[in-house]
């Protein structure tokens, strides 16, 4: 039964199983285990990024396609909810319309980009997605009349999902709309993740992996490589958009920096690589470790930077603003020395 939920794709490592269960339990009971606004923010962020990273893994790890437009699709979902809530007014209907519209728009855009670039060479896709995503980001900040520009949009969501909606207390924790909102995030993310797990373990997922290994042979066997690649692109884009919608419902705010920036794209890349490409479970570990590190390590860097004030260069290198520098170094090192990521390492350990 449990195996069935996981689509038969077992973690295949004891340590990995323990880690995954730990993360699942921690996220499922986060409001009770780690009370406080900040830790709940962190938990919700982890849930959403797990889905976002897993959907990227479908493309990169299973399809062997590099995209730089994943945040664009994420943003489409987020702006879909924001625009619908702003223009149709507060309500569940707006959320539904925004979510569906965002996902459909993402899939259609992915289809168009895929048709143009994937039919020639897979590397075109990386370059074209980079160009298109940056154009969209610029457009969103320029069309401030619709999108709120750089400031982004604040909007209202149904009252049942906000702190103002109070239901009492349980185990010393206030049960309110924010808590309900968290569980909406949690269960939606869980469902999407299990759905992705199902996809990669379906015949479709297996063909995709065969294409990644050797596209000529897959074509020779009779699979239309381009159809599979485009389908993976569209699906991945749609799930990214759904993650964006969840994010928008959780934050009640969208802006270019939180959804569309190239920095988030790099975060996603790093989470996939660190967790382990082509494993799905890597997304869970990668996102969890990364979001935690992002929240807590930056403080540590600040402290270290201050402690070394007298030294040349070192305080500048340790400045929290240089977070990206260390991510970049880590990224290069992990691609070279750690290409199978944490999940790959854990599974190798078991075999050895």
């Amino acid at each position: 039964m449990l195996i069935n939920i996981l689509s038969g794709d077992k973690p295949r490592s004891v340590i990995l199983t323990v880690l995954l269960l730990g993360i699942l339990v921690a996220l499922a009971f986060a409001p009770f285990l780690f009370p406080g606004v900040r830790s709940l923010e962190t938990a919700a962020r982890i849930c959403i990024f797990i889905v976002l990273v897993a959907s990227y893994d479908l493309l990169l790890g299973y399809g062997g396609i590099v995209s730089f437009a994943h945040t664009m699709f994420f943003g489409l979902g987020a702006y879909g909810v924001a625009l619908a809530s702003e223009n149709m007014g507060r309500g569940w209907g707006s959320l539904a319309v925004g979510t569906v519209a965002g996902a459909v728009a993402a899939a259609v855009l992915a289809l168009v980009i895929g048709l143009f670039s994937l039919r020639v060479r897979a590397i075109f896709f990386a370059m074209i997605t980079l160009a298109v995503a940056s154009a969209v980001a610029v457009l969103v900040s320029q069309l401030s009349g619709i999108t709120g520009g750089e400031d982004g949009l604040n909007y209202s969501i149904p009252r049942e999902l906000t702190p103002a909606f109070r239901l009492g207390e349980f185990l010393g924790v206030k049960i309110n709309g924010k808590l309900l909102n968290y569980y909406l995030v949690f269960f939606a993310s869980l469902a999407l993740f299990l759905m992705l797990l199902r996809v990669v373990n379906s015949p479709f997922g297996r063909v995709l992996q065969a294409i990644r290994e050797n596209d000529f042979r897959a074509e020779a066997i009779g699979y239309r490589v381009i159809y599979y690649r485009i389908a993976a692109t569209c699906l991945s884009a749609a799930v990214a958009a759904l993650a964006g919608s969840i994010f928008a419902i959780w934050l009640r705010y969208v802006g270019p920096d939180t959804t569309l920036s190239f920095e988030i794209m790099l975060d996603i890349l790093l989470m996939v690589v660190i967790g382990g490409m082509g494993t799905m479970y890597g997304a869970v570990l990668g996102a969890t470790i990364f979001v935690l590190a992002q929240n807590y390590l930056q403080n540590l860097m600040g402290a270290a930077s201050e402690a070394t004030t007298g030294l040349p260069l070192i305080p500048d290198l340790l400045n929290p603003d240089r977070w990206l520098l260390w991510l970049g170094v880590l990224f290069i090192l992990s691609v070279y020395f750690f290409p199978t990521g944490i999940v790959g390492r854990l599974r190798e350990g078991r075999r050895a």
Binding site: L60, G64, V66, F116, S117, R119, V120, R121, A122, I123, F124, A126, M127, I128, L130, A131, V132, S134, A135, V138, L139, Q142, L143, F262, L266, L269, V273, L313, D316, L317, D321, R322, L324, L325, L327, G328, V329, F331, I332, V335, Y336, P339
Partner: protein, 343 residues
Amino acid sequence: MSAAPDHTPTFAQISLSERIGKAAPLLLVPVMVALGFLAIGSPSSWLTLTVSGLAMGMMIFIMASGLTLVFGLMDVINFGHGAFISVGAFVGISVLLVLGSWTGAPSLALNVAAVMLAVIAAMIITGALGWAFERVIVRPVYGAHLKQILVTVGGLIVIEQMIHVIWGPDEIFLTRPETLKGAFTFAGAAIEKYRLLAVVFGLVLFVAMRLVFKRTKIGLIVRAGVQNGEMVQALGYRLRLVFIGVFIAGSALAGLGGVMWGLYQEVITAGMGEEMMILVFIVVIIGGLGSVEGAFIGALLVGLLQNYIAFLEPKLALVSNIALMTAVLMWRPQGMMPVVKAK
């Protein structure tokens, strides 16, 4: 010598349509200029915009040429190329700031000397950086596009962040050397001196590159290597060395482009290379990966279109380039002048 009737006049005649097909990309630039004229209406604005479009195109071409050759020769796609643009700009502009008394003097000779020194310094540093980048970042991932993209993106981030560490987190504003400031009027249109200089310089560089490719053995090796690297090696040439040379030269050219772009914009940021990479990629894609001529034409088209649209409908400037790319790919899915690759 015996008569050999079988192989005398079999040389394939090129049909007219084939000739036009080959020349079509070349015709696109004048077509674009003419369309710009029709859309803008005012001849003086059109002339001003055309000059700045060509100037921008030349600079983009200088940045793009190395990238497209590196791809053509070794099938290496370098997403970190933009870092050389930024580093070149920061090194070059730093030199100019140090030589403030030269650039501030109203003497053409001193101004040019300062710019030359800045360019040389930028090219040496970016060339050296390119050499290190090839060794450390690119070499371990030959033949693996996926890893190449990931690792070179990592390299881009690290170099960009190092610029912040060395030069501080803020953008740097600058003014052009005294004699390159200002504009003159030609046929009622204001033409900035610097832009005209950039056009002339870009053209000279393009002609020089063509001469190298046509007249020197190393140029022949590069052209042949883009088509069939295996055969070049079977003839006894060490393609790897040639590739490293091209990588270094391409990085130095990106650095040169960075200095020119910094002087053009009069402000430099660590992220400028990353921003320019978007245009560089568009140019390389529409030109045809590996094709220097294609990149040249693509760069001019992008520069012109960007300037025309920025005048007509500013918000659509960047989107217009995406539209141009889409249109070109619908016409020729491999780009305008794809390199004929051996199997």
